[in-house]
């Protein structure tokens, strides 16, 4: 996260078999409109593919979109794999159909923030900018 003045780089990723990508694409588009550089993985990504892309693209932020109910397993494994790759300095945010009661468990895996349906796009952008800092 050392590059100054460079745009914030975000990986928007769809782990697992879920094909519901409206939310991921809307958030990705919002990041682009906010001046960030977005790498969108497309659908059906394995945990290894996502972590490899995050490292290779040297992103500041990893956003996971999960609508399939399988958020626990995928999130836990992404966090573990990021740590294995010494890439756990990245900001990790998760969005999707997730019961509020399960948010604390995701944060225990090391996720920085979880955005539930109905979250304002500007709130997500402000959160990311606030965490990564001014460029």
């Amino acid at each position: 996260m050392a590059r100054s003045n460079a745009p914030i780089r975000v990986l928007v990723a769809k782990p697992g078999l879920d094909g519901h990508d409206r939310g991921a694409k809307v958030v990705a588009k919002a990041f682009v409109e906010a001046g960030m550089e977005v790498i969108y993985t497309g659908l059906h990504q394995t945990v290894d593919q996502i972590v490899a892309a995050a490292v290779q693209e040297d992103v500041d932020v990893v956003g996971l979109s999960i609508m399939s109910g399988a958020y626990m397993g995928y999130t836990r494994r992404v966090m573990e794999r990021l740590r294995d790759q010494k890439a756990d300095d990245k900001l990790v945010v998760v969005g999707g159909v997730i019961p509020a009661a399960h948010v604390p468990a995701l944060k225990e895996f090391g996720v920085n923030e979880v955005f539930l349906p109905g979250t304002r796009l500007d709130d997500i952008i402000d959160y990311v900018k606030g965490k990564i800092g001014p460029r």
Binding site: K25, V26, K29, A30, Y40, S68
Partner: protein, 556 residues
């Protein structure tokens, strides 16, 4: 020349204009449908000056089918309540289906887990947490037999929400029916099998477009020749709408996909009237009540014209646009979830007034969890209330003749046809998908719609109006028992040990040869199913021959 003589229309138009001026109608806030069609505060015969009843509207069951495909509508047959259900193992789902049937659900709509939809087996370690999650896990014929245990397949109408692996699931269904002693000509039901929309809306694609279209044609041909009552496709505007399409684009893109399937089937030498009566659609009804009703009426008129004039279908049954419509999950909110019961009721009411043949109402907990049985019952009761307590089913197409609804029907018709013509002029829907044009369009519109909600330009109760501070989450959660996953993995592993693996290999080799050749893959699939080859094994063979679809991701 319309039904009302020209001089009368002119009188009315003049009077209407005077009325508008007197009441300063032009100064009030303008209103639009979700597609941007301007809505006036009042409509009169002057808004449908050329309306010719016999030519433009006609009678139900007759061309141009505007009033509905079935002559006597709900008076002879109520719509099928088709609540979407399925989770865990086949045994768990079988119990849920029976529970819903006991509560009066008249048709099944089976949800498969993503593992099944994506052609994998449950014992694949990469996807373990997806097993039985959003639908039922089906690995082999063994699971299908359990799924339909005690459910007579010649009596219960079953819909399968399955696409890329549809040929495999239908092969399993066919063999299950055979084992139940149901003769193929009695086997009814519907398979979604609409793969084109998977590429740009629903995302459960596996194979590239061309081999997928070939398998779609194989399945059409098989249904037409072997299980003639079975509906081989449910073309989904629903998912297209949910991905960001307008109501106009929903119909336009769904029809373009349907035309692609028809041309595909015709290229096999099938006669249009041998399969067109069993084409069906799946649409989304949102909160724009009259817009949605007009949309369905316009769509029926266009579809009848396409089938009669473009494809030369002779059988009036080929001209009917039959569809399932209820509510739309994307219109539901996470906040104030009880409001979703009301949204579901209003949307389902519009769908029924429009004349849907089957309906599914969403559950209020959409934004939180996989549906609980309690939420499913409220959704089912929504339909039953409309069916039995209201007078809505008593008369066919009750809004026909409304100046407003007829005017809006005409406007929707014009816009849908213009949208279809634009895509066709630019090389057609398949090119639009492969180049990512349609994905980009829907993404942009979805983004703009979200911004409109956040700016308060599109009212959404609980989100941008009447927001309640410190709302408590009161929704009960679906319970996924981890034992189901373990049980499913154990079952498929045990099967792989127990079956005649030499026979499985023979049938899979034959499947590979058929895929490389030109024959219909349904027959080698049925042989492989009989040998208890798994869905994952069959898909792997097809992937090796056909490859996989490369999704365009540079769309922002």
């Amino acid at each position: 020349m319309g039904d009302i003589e020209k001089s009368k229309i002119e009188d009315i138009a003049r009077a209407q204009q005077e009325w508008e001026e007197k009441n300063k109608a032009s100064r009030i806030e303008k209103k639009y449908t979700s597609t941007g069609i301007g809505i006036k505060p009042l409509y009169t015969p002057a808004d449908v000056p050329d309306l010719d009843y016999l030519r433009d509207i006609g009678f139900p069951g007759d061309y141009p089918m505007v009033r509905g495909g079935h002559p006597l509508g709900y008076r002879t047959k109520l719509w099928v309540t088709r609540q979407y259900a399925g989770f865990g193992t086949a045994a768990e789902s079988n119990q849920r289906f029976k529970y819903l049937a006991k509560e009066g659900n008249t048709g099944l709509n089976i949800a498969f887990d993503l593992v099944t939809q994506m052609g994998l087996d449950s014992d694949n370690p990469e996807i373990e947490e997806e097993v039985g999650r959003v639908g039922v896990a089906i690995d082999s014929l063994e699971d299908m037999e359990v799924l339909f245990d005690g459910i007579p397949l010649d009596k219960v109408s079953t819909a399968f929400t399955i696409n890329a692996t549809a040929p495999i699931i239908i092969a399993m269904y066919y063999v299950t029916a055979e084992k139940q002693g149901v003769s193929p000509d009695k086997l009814g039901g519907t398979v979604q099998n609409d793969n084109l929309k998977e590429y740009f809306s629903r995302g459960a694609f596996i194979f590239p477009v061309q081999p997928t279209m070939r398998m779609t044609a194989d399945l059409f041909e098989f249904c037409s020749k072997v299980i003639p009552k079975y509906i081989p496709v449910s073309v989904c505007g629903y998912h297209i709408r949910e991905s960001g399409a307008t109501s106009v684009q929903e119909i336009a893109f769904a029809f373009l996909n349907a035309i692609a399937y028809i041309e595909n089937a015709l290229s096999r030498g099938l006669d249009i009237d041998s399969f067109a009566p069993r084409l069906s659609f799946n649409f989304a009804t949102l909160m724009g009540f009259f817009e949605e009703i007009a949309k369905y009426r316009a769509a029926r008129r266009i579809w009848a014209r396409i089938l009669r004039d473009r494809f030369g279908a002779k059988d009036p049954k080929s001209w009917r646009m039959l569809y399932i419509a209820g509510s739309t999950g994307g219109s539901f909110t996470r906040r104030q979830p009880d409001c979703n019961v009301i949204r579901g009721a209003i949307e389902t009411l519009a769908s029924i007034i429009s004349g849907a043949q089957a309906s599914a109402t969403h559950t209020k907990d959409e934004g939180h969890t996989i549906p609980t049985p309690e939420a499913q019952i409220i959704a089912l009761r929504t339909q039953q209330l409309i069916a039995y307590e209201t007078d809505v089913p008593n008369t066919i197409d009750p809004l026909a003749g409304s100046y407003f609804v007829e005017s809006l029907t005409n406007e929707m018709e014009k816009q849908i046809e213009a949208t279809m013509a634009e895509v066709e002029a630019n090389g057609g829907i398949i090119k639009a998908i492969e180049e990512g044009w349609v994905q980009r369009l829907l993404m942009r519109q979805a983004y703009e719609d979200r911004r409109k909600v956040e700016l308060g330009e599109r009212p959404l109760i609980g989100e941008n109006m009447f927001v309640m501070e410190e709302e408590k989450e009161t929704v009960a959660l679906h319970y996924a028992d981890p034992k189901w996953v373990q049980e499913q993995i154990r079952r498929v592993r045990a099967l792989k040990e127990r079956r005649d693996n030499a026979r499985v290999k023979e049938t899979l080799d034959a499947l590979g040869r058929a895929a490389r050749g030109k024959g219909n893959i349904m027959y080698p699939l049925i042989d492989a199913v009989r040998a208890y080859a798994t869905l994952g094994e069959m898909t792997a063979v097809l992937k090796e021959v056909f490859g996989e679809f490369k999704e365009p991701v540079n769309i922002f």
